[in-house]
């Protein structure tokens, strides 16, 4: 019994509503950004051309976008899986660091083993520590009802500090480089695919993991139980789901995925562990997941969008002297508008029927 006589509704309602709103949000954000660029005394058109050239200008640029996308897919999925299951762990950044370091250790100190063994071992190490770091807030929530959001938030800084200490003190590169470990063995490295980019085969790992997660989430009984546990844990227990187990499981998988993100940075991009190896991949992953309401397919697409924005912003800065902070402003506006989707739909329908107060 929808009110279909509204012209707006005809165009923007219906099945493709989410797509429209997202697109509209992006366009609006760029318009607002353009105003800021004009205020800065520059030509927004040139700036945006530079932005897109920076992301799509040639194969190398696209590869760079995909390199960033790879990491964001991992962290985005990490957040999505936990949030879906009703366990709100926001410690991906810290888990990523620990995973990166664990991978680097295995990559450095295991020698004379074939690639097919070495790489999986290095990734496994990252999964173990990432999973462990995520398990702590989860078990504290399940056992002691402690707020997992805050516990996991508070565990980010220690993880980064610990890695910082290890990388700078006991495991630093003795050959003059500071704030980093030595290079990992040849046998632990993912191959780079292009001459002028760090694009590497971890991208395909990311895609396979993403497909695995999509399968698990949407086609498996486990995914079903995760979802129900996230939506109503009382009901899931009532229905015979071991909901605490499912929550812990989701939390550990989440930590593992974040760990793999760190692993991918080390084994694919830098070939060593740095004391600052990520500026906010974990946090961006959080946003990526939340914008699409933890839908795994959505995560892939939004991760790509973020990859484009981040890479393009750097290029825009290089080409036009527009500070990359402006791209932060644009990014935040995109997020604002996309997140407002529900409310915007209600406004378009002019019904004031925003879903009830929580």
């Amino acid at each position: 019994m929808q009110k279909k006589d509204n012209i707006f509704y005809k165009i923007f309602g219906g099945k493709y509503q989410f797509l429209w709103i997202t697109l509209l949000a992006i366009i609006l954000a760029f318009v607002v950004g353009a105003v800021a660029i004009i205020a800065n005394g520059q030509n927004p058109l040139l700036a945006y051309i530079a932005l897109f050239k920076g992301s799509f200008g040639n194969i190398n640029k696209v590869a760079t976008v995909l390199t960033r996308t790879t990491i964001l897919i991992f962290t985005g999925l990490a957040v999505a899986i936990a949030f879906r299951s009703g366990i709100f762990i926001i410690g991906a950044e810290g888990q990523l660091y620990l995973g990166a370091f664990a991978s680097a250790l295995v990559g450095i100190y295991l020698t004379n083993i074939p690639k097919v063994v070495h790489i999986p071992l290095a990734i496994l190490a990252a999964m173990l520590v990432g999973g462990f770091w995520s398990f702590i807030p989860a078990i504290l929530k399940v056992r002691y009802k402690m707020d997992e959001v805050v516990v996991s938030l508070m565990m980010n800084a220690p993880a980064i500090l610990i890695v910082g200490y290890l990388v700078n003190e006991p495991f630093r590169d003795p050959m003059g480089q500071t704030g980093m470990t030595v290079l990992i063995q040849e046998s632990a490295r993912f191959s780079r695919l292009l001459e002028f980019s760090r694009f590497n085969t971890t991208f395909f790992i990311a895609l396979s993991v993403a497909f695995l997660m999509i399968y698990l989430i949407q086609r498996s009984t486990v995914g079903y139980e995760w979802k129900i546990t996230g939506l109503n844990p009382i009901f899931s227990r009532f229905g015979g789901v071991y909901s605490k187990k499912r929550m812990l499981q989701a939390a550990v998988i989440s930590g593992m995925l974040a760990g793999i993100a760190g692993s991918a940075l080390v084994l694919g991009e830098f070939y060593r562990c740095l004391d600052i190896i990520s500026v906010g991949y974990g946090w961006d992953g959080l946003l990526v997941a939340m914008i699409v309401n933890n839908n795994p397919i959505g995560v892939i697409l939004v991760a790509f969008l973020f990859g484009v924005l981040k890479t393009g912003a750097l290029a825009m800065e290089a080409a036009t002297n527009i500070p990359s902070e402006l791209s932060l402003v644009i990014q935040s506006i995109v997020i604002l508008f996309v997140a407002a989707e529900r409310g915007v739909i209600a406004l378009i329908q002019r019904k004031g029927e925003v879903p009830p107060i929580v």
Partner: protein, 506 residues
């Protein structure tokens, strides 16, 4: 007589349904008007509109005391002397009684601070004046529902309400409390107030109201004087067809004990002994009705048997096997089905799709899944089958469950629980909050499950239901079984005495 409320041509469209379609409604001064209809008929929506909620409406005008008003928010309604007691009480659980009463209309001292003493004084005064006894400093979360309802009414009286809307006020009350409520309503009317009484229980309509307005599917189907009508007529207007008030029941065929409880004990959430040494047996093919006022341990009893609540001591024997340690999933797999009392919290996930709710418990078994792989096609067919079989009215099984009305929600739960191979059914308050048409359907289903050889434990506060279905009746009071009877052996009044602890066997 003077019309205090007149609503003309009210139309309200929700995104998925027309809740009110050109509705005219009026209320006279000093009358008790029953507003009846099945769930989803639009009664609550109509009254909410009068109370300033569900705004804006699509069309229609409202007159209060003959003057047109635009009631865009509850505070306007309150100013006009309209008050509403909602079906789900609007009380803040952690607040005291007096704080809840003055909320929104607080008195100040020193110009800034909340005057708590004054609030307590006010509470005492109005409760004394109307003969309600409440403790002003008690926290609402600690009070039984009957008392909470009194607080709701006191709240309205404090605000000086002349027009009271009571939305299904008897749903949570004991027979004694209902009696008290009715006398309160009469005294309020005698003081010149007017009352709208939303319900779907026809005996109550006959007992209390002066006039009846009947709604069906968003429209008014009749406005009647209570004295000049019958339950049958009202029911017909409500449902749109003839309704049988009594289901046909065959003699039970007992086929051996399915469930045996030996002296079981369990704690409530507030760590009190809620189930205190209950022993009972249920046989295949019989319905054991457990009568009792809510909060006497019935909920906990059901949860212990289904494994949702830990057992303190005693033995649960299901089909000659001790299942004290079995998990909820294991118990379901053995064949224990459960329709919980609080459907929205326990029985479904309101944000999940209808399909997801229907397949819970079956989702990991053949033919819906093998290993961890789910067959989406089979899942869809399975859900579709249940939707048709149980007549769940929805456009699409992939809609969120929140889009269903109360009766359909209940059908959903029943469809799921009745559809797997069960040996024991635990059914708590099955007809709470659902309409006559659905009740009939439901009772038939329950009996058919009995005749298929299920053992059924029926927990209900509704004595009509207990009498209509039970083969044996046990009464629960303060966590104990205080008596067991054959339904023909005992009258309602006497049963009431057992329920309130005034009388007990042994």
């Amino acid at each position: 007589m003077e019309k205090v409320v007149e609503m003309r041509g009210i139309t309200k469209i929700f995104p998925t349904v027309i809740a009110n379609n050109d509705v005219d409604f009026s209320l006279y001064k000093g009358e008790i008007q029953a507003l009846v209809g099945e769930n989803g008929a639009g009664k609550t929506t109509l009254m909410s509109i009068l109370y300033g909620m569900n705004q804006p409406i699509d069309s229609g005008r409202i007159f209060i005391n003959g003057k047109e008003e635009r009631i865009y928010h509850p505070h306007v309604a309150i100013n006009k002397g309209i008050g509403m007691v909602h079906q789900h009480f609007m009380l803040v659980p952690s607040f005291t009684v007096s704080e809840n009463i003055v909320l929104g209309h607080e008195k100040r001292k020193n110009g800034i601070l909340l005057d708590k003493e004054e609030a307590i004084k006010i509470t005492k005064e109005i409760s004394k004046k109307h003969g309600f006894l409440v403790a002003p400093m008690a926290r609402v979360q600690d009070l039984p529902l009957g008392i909470q309802q009194r607080i709701e009414i006191l709240k309205l009286l404090y605000r000086g309400t002349d027009i009271l809307i009571l939305d299904e006020p008897t749903a949570v009350l004991t027979p004694q409390e209902i009696k008290e409520l009715f006398s309160t309503i009469r005294s309020l009317v005698s003081e010149g107030r007017s009352i709208v009484f939303i319900t779907h229980k026809l005996p109550e309509v006959m007992a209390i109201s002066d006039r009846v307005t009947v709604m069906r599917k968003g429209r008014i189907t009749g406005v009647l004087e209570t004295k000049k009508t019958t339950m049958k007529e009202i029911a017909k207007l409500m449902v749109g067809r003839e309704v049988l008030f009594q289901v046909e029941k065959e003699e039970p065929h007992f086929k051996g004990v399915v469930l045996e409880l030996n002296n079981i004990k369990a704690l409530s959430d507030r760590i009190l002994l809620a189930v205190n040494g209950v022993s009972l047996k249920v046989q295949a093919g019989e319905i054991l009705g457990i009568a009792g006022i809510e909060g006497n341990g019935q909920t906990e009893l059901a949860e212990v048997v289904t494994g949702l609540r830990p057992l303190v001591s005693g033995e649960i024997i299901f089909q000659s096997k001790n299942i004290n340690k079995a998990s909820p999933r294991q118990r379901r797999e053995m064949g224990i089905a459960h329709i919980p009392e609080d459907r929205l919290k326990t029985g479904i996930s309101i944000d999940a799709t209808i399909q997801d709710n229907l397949v819970m418990g079956a989702h990991y078994k053949k033919p819906l899944a093998r290993g961890i792989h789910r067959y989406l096609r089979q899942t869809k067919d399975y859900a579709e089958k249940l939707i048709n079989e149980y007549d769940i009215r929805t456009a699409n099984q992939n809609l969120p469950t929140i889009s269903l009305s109360g009766g359909n929600l209940q059908r959903l739960v029943i469809a799921r629980e009745f559809s797997f191979d069960s040996k024991l059914l635990i059914i708590s308050q099955p007809t709470r909050g659902i309409d006559i048409g659905s009740i009939e359907f439901l009772h038939e289903k329950i009996l058919s499950m009995r005749d298929k050889g299920n053992a059924i434990l029926l927990i209900s506060a509704d004595l009509d239901e207990i009498y209509a279905l039970s083969d044996r009746i046990a009464v629960m009071y303060e966590g104990e079984m205080v008596g067991e009877f054959h339904p023909d052996e005992i009258g309602r009044e006497e049963l009431g005495l057992y329920m309130t602890g005034a009388k007990r066997e042994n």
